[in-house]
């Protein structure tokens, strides 16, 4: 599996996710600086967590307008895989690869804690090895994870079964408990929780590991 991790000024989970990928695939992903204008040929593009451009204006807004994002759009439109984690999810909504928007948490506070996620869509390369209704332990750490979509948009994405993960106990006010969302075809996934922080669970493999591993097996 060839993987690219996009690095924006202010990204801060880029190293963490790259190491998670390396742990699963045995291969270092390529790190792509946001000013990159040449095409990169990979299977999966990851938009990592962090505070690209300090989350100024709106989280993900400025990152979404980086030159590299044109390639990410092309890649996604050609059916390539894109995973946006936390700040990466915000970038994906800002650039329109996913519908809706991520607003400040209902409590207006940053929240860092473990959460339980229910898998609600398995027909994606990211979740193909999970079963519907299965629970995953993957932590969140964000200030703006309160997913919102207008009514008709929301019913459309529910009808299309685009919701991939829902919170068991909604930490941020997210509409319909949405924690992770895909596009219709399932090749683009945005999620607020950080799978790269769930690589181990005690002495065994964590659910983040399982997610990345699923991805690798699907592609192989």
């Amino acid at each position: 599996m060839r993987v690219a991790v996009i690095v924006f000024p202010g990204s801060n989970c880029d190293r963490d996710v790259a190491e998670a990928i390396a742990q699963v695939t045995g291969k270092q992903p390529i790190m792509v600086w946001h000013r990159e204008t040449t095409f990169f040929d990979v299977d999966l593009v990851i938009l990592p967590g962090g505070f690209a451009y300090g989350d100024y204006l709106r989280p993900g807004a400025m990152a979404a307008r980086s030159s590299v994002m044109r390639h990410v759009l092309d890649h996604a439109k050609a059916g390539g895989l894109v995973l946006g984690i936390c700040n990466g999810f915000q970038v994906l909504t800002e650039i329109g690869l996913l519908p809706g928007a991520l607003l400040p948490n209902a409590g207006m506070k940053f929240i860092c804690k473990p959460v339980k996620l229910k898998v609600t869509r398995t027909s994606t390369p990211f979740t193909g090895s999970f079963t519907k209704g299965q629970y995953l332990d993957i932590p969140v750490a964000h200030h703006d994870g309160n997913y919102f979509a207008q009514k008709d948009e929301l019913s459309r994405l529910e009808d299309n079964e685009q919701v991939v993960f829902r919170y068991e106990n909604n930490p941020n006010g997210s509409i319909n408990d949405i924690a992770g969302l895909s596009n219709v075809s399932g090749n683009v996934l945005g999620m607020m929780p950080h799978p790269e922080r769930a690589m181990v669970h005690g002495k065994t493999r964590g659910d983040g590991y399982k997610l990345f591993n699923t991805l690798m097996e699907m592609i192989r």
């Binding site: 000024p9 202010g10 801060n12 989970c13 190293r15 963490d16 190491e19 998670a20 967590g49 962090g50 505070f51 451009y53 300090g54 989350d55 100024y56 506070k109 940053f110 929240i111 860092c112 804690k113 932590p139 750490a141 200030h143 950080h194 790269e196 922080r197 690589m199």
Partner: protein, 739 residues
């Protein structure tokens, strides 16, 4: 004002220099300074920059050791943790700014301490904070808590350095003067550490980072002045932090460090360009000439005075090797940071500033640094505090008392705080505020080693007896590291006191320092960095003396990491150390009996060491399932912590000869509570016997209740109360919470 004019007496007074100081300055210069020079001298001679009241006492700290690479004097202390790795750390106060503007004050405190660490070549890997607020009922407290916590999180989370621990107390003594002490720990390679000495003549001085604005002018003198009701006037001097710039600055500086282009590097902290340039010149034994027209400026028409005294954040000064300018600039340009050559080193031993075609300052370096005033201020020994006799206190329901202690503001769960901190970014956090471990544990990236970190101080002890209190703060830090499975190595500290010109405050300071020094010496736990914050007073009333200790230890193998959350039903509870039932200045005395100011517990350092050695062995030989040091609230509170963390019930023993309150809540030092699996008991007992360690049966892990004699409470009910206090308090938020 004309910056080149000779200052008026009023201007001299406004700059906080005493008449004698001004005279001595003129004598050293051989003339009167102009206004620019006065501004520069006054910040350099301020308490904050010159440590004029504290220097002679700080010299009492032991600062060397087998593992010490760099002790106090540089931006941060450095210890060797083996395999070519080094850990760089320091703690610093941002008390005054945080009281004025809690969000920005705390945020810039975090930013400032990180710069002290990465300027030495280390990548910051952990942040902690020690916070002291006024009493919860004070109308300002709630919004100060909200603002400070949001500011700490807002900055650290954005930069992407985990905030892994800290402490938070409430006391009316901090009503008008809160304490915000931030600590940063960084990781470097021992063979690529960067210092601030500007060696060599004719080398380029590079300015990098944010532009200079008019913010924070006089911050250093403000930090050295008491508060009064006119504090409002000083408000516009607060600085706004920009964590996004800090993040890029870290990456760019580390990238530049890897090139080998740097001769010296220094962050611009208090007194900005002034103190950074003077310190670099002084350490390198050179002069410095700066062309102020080249300084990146945020605002129009800035004067020399403003540029030199600005405390705009996120700026660094770098001395480059000749010929590396272009490559160095490119790195900062890539990170979209301002960068410019602003001057060069000279052989004159002077600080020369040119602005708009004029020389606006020409001062010899030495009077500003080495020859700055140094005082042996008069100090008064504290009267010995009275002893508190446990027998004189009434008998009470022990479980009821336990509940009241666990729910008091100092003991109640701080979840509301630490859930706002990203504790896991960088993926190396093994134990944080949520983890029920006496120290925070952060793995050395890519290895099977870790550092343990703890921040500690018990101000009520220091208040009653500064010498004992100073000793105790160091001992508790050491004990916390032991109890988390680490070998304690060294400390940093932040000494928060009132006005040193008062002999009784100076007395607190001197005795606390002597107590700390004694403990550091005996425990082989040297001081490698620190910070002093004096004049923490409002309307003449000083804060409780608060010498915060930030301890760092090494965990050699990750399976040595232990906490107090692992106790299982069937385990036996054993108490390590001797219990006399010492209640003077205890949490019990304060919360239950409303008594304070009695003699705090003695700190016997050889006992501390011996007991610690035993506990370390017990951990390394896997003889225990959970370990907790005993501190506030003694045995009963440590047991309750363990019960809550392990989600188990406990039956606690009572004592035949001692009243319950003494046995359960006494705060004798050098003690630990262990949860021992029954099949390991024999082995552990033998070890205790061999090491001459008091090892006393204290109870059993059983059921769902905490039970003492006939009294009991469900652990689940205790949890609700313990978790509930701060949330309920903060949900009532009124007033301005910052951003």
């Amino acid at each position: 004002m004309s910056d080149l004019s000779t200052p008026t007496p009023q201007q001299i007074a406004e700059h906080g220099l005493s008449d004698e100081e001004y005279e001595s300055l003129c004598e050293q210069l051989g003339r009167e300074p102009n206004l620019n020079e006065l501004g520069i001298c006054s910040v350099m001679w301020s308490e904050h920059c010159s440590y004029k009241s504290s220097r002679i006492h700080l010299a009492k700290f032991p600062t060397t050791g087998k593992r010490v690479i760099c002790g106090p004097g540089e931006n941060a202390g450095i210890i060797d943790i083996g395999d070519g790795d080094a850990v760089v750390f320091k703690m610093e106060s941002h008390n005054h700014p945080s009281f004025i503007e809690p969000y920005q004050g705390a945020a810039t405190g975090v930013g400032g301490i990180m710069r002290d660490v990465f300027t030495m070549g280390a990548r910051p890997i952990a942040l902690l904070n020690a916070l002291r607020f006024g009493e919860p009922d004070n109308p300002k407290t709630r919004s100060l808590v909200a603002g400070v916590v949001a500011g700490i999180g807002g900055y650290g989370n954005c930069v992407g350095v985990p905030t892994v621990g800290g402490e938070m107390n409430f006391d009316p003594g901090y009503n008008g003067n809160i304490l915000v002490n931030a600590m940063c720990v960084g990781l470097a390679r021992a063979d690529s550490i960067f210092y601030s000495a500007a060696k060599g003549v004719g080398n380029t001085i590079l300015y990098v980072g944010a532009r200079t604005g008019r913010d924070g002018i006089h911050g250093a003198t403000m930090a050295s002045a008491e508060f009064d009701d006119d504090t409002e006037e000083k408000r516009p001097r607060v600085q706004v932090g920009d964590p996004f710039t800090e993040k890029r600055l870290i990456e760019a500086c580390l990238e530049l460090m890897a090139t080998g282009n740097i001769i010296a590097i220094q962050d611009m902290g208090a007194a900005g360009l002034t103190s950074s340039s003077i310190e670099m010149a002084d350490k390198g034994g050179v002069g410095i000439e700066i062309d102020l027209d080249m300084v990146p400026q945020r605002e129009d028409n800035m004067t020399a005075y403003e540029m030199m005294l600005s405390e705009s954040q996120e700026r660094m000064l770098i001395i480059l090797k000749p010929g590396t300018e272009t490559q160095s600039r490119q790195i900062f340009t890539k990170w979209e940071l301002d960068v410019d050559v602003i001057g060069r080193t000279t052989d004159t031993g002077r600080l020369v500033l040119n602005h708009k075609g004029e020389t606006v300052c020409n001062l010899p370096i030495a009077p500003l640094s080495d020859l700055a005033p140094k005082y042996d201020r008069p100090w008064k020994k504290q009267e010995p505090a009275p002893e508190l006799n446990a027998e004189d206190l009434p008998q009470r329901d022990p479980v009821d008392a336990l509940c009241r202690l666990m729910v008091c503001p100092d003991m109640a769960s701080k979840r509301w705080v630490w859930e706002q901190y990203d504790r896991h970014v960088m993926n190396d956090t093994l134990a944080d505020s949520a983890s029920s471990c006496d120290g925070a544990i952060v793995r050395i990236h890519g290895t099977d080693k870790a550092v343990a970190i703890s921040s500690d101080c018990t101000p009520r002890y220091v208040q009653a007896d500064a010498y004992r209190g100073g000793k105790q703060a160091v001992a508790e830090s050491w004990r916390n590291l032991i109890a988390s499975g680490a070998k304690p190595i060294a400390i940093t500290n932040c000494l928060n006191f009132g006005n040193p010109e008062k002999p009784e405050i100076m007395g607190q300071f001197v005795q606390a320092v002597e107590g700390m020094a004694k403990a550091c010496d005996k425990l082989s736990f040297p001081v490698v960095s620190g910070n002093v914050s004096l004049y923490n007073e409002t309307n003449g009333k000083a804060i409780p003396p608060t010498p915060t200790v930030g301890g760092v230890g090494i965990v050699k193998a990750l399976d040595h990491v232990i906490g107090f959350g692992g106790a299982e039903v069937g385990d036996l509870l054993y108490l390590v150390g001797e219990t006399s039932g010492w209640l003077g200045s205890s949490l019990y005395a304060r919360e239950i009996e409303g008594l304070s100011g009695h003699m705090p517990p003695p700190v016997k350092l050889s006992v501390e060491q011996n007991n610690g050695k035993f506990v370390k062995k017990a951990i390394q030989q896997s003889l225990v399932r959970a370990v907790h040091d005993l501190s506030d609230g003694g045995l009963a509170c440590a047991a309750a912590d363990m019960a809550l963390a392990s989600d188990v019930g406990m039956v606690l023993e009572t004592h035949d000869e001692m009243p319950n309150h003494a046995w359960l809540f006494g705060e004798d030092q050098a003690r630990y509570l262990l949860a021992v699996p029954s099949h390991k008991l024999n082995q552990l007992q033998r070890l205790a016997y061999k090491q001459h360690v008091p090892f006393v049966f204290a109870g059993e892990v059983v059921g769902d209740d905490i039970k003492i004699g006939a009294a009991r409470i469900k652990v689940a009910d205790l949890r609700k109360k313990w978790e509930g206090w701060l949330v309920k308090y903060m949900e009532n938020i009124h007033g301005n919470a910052g951003e």
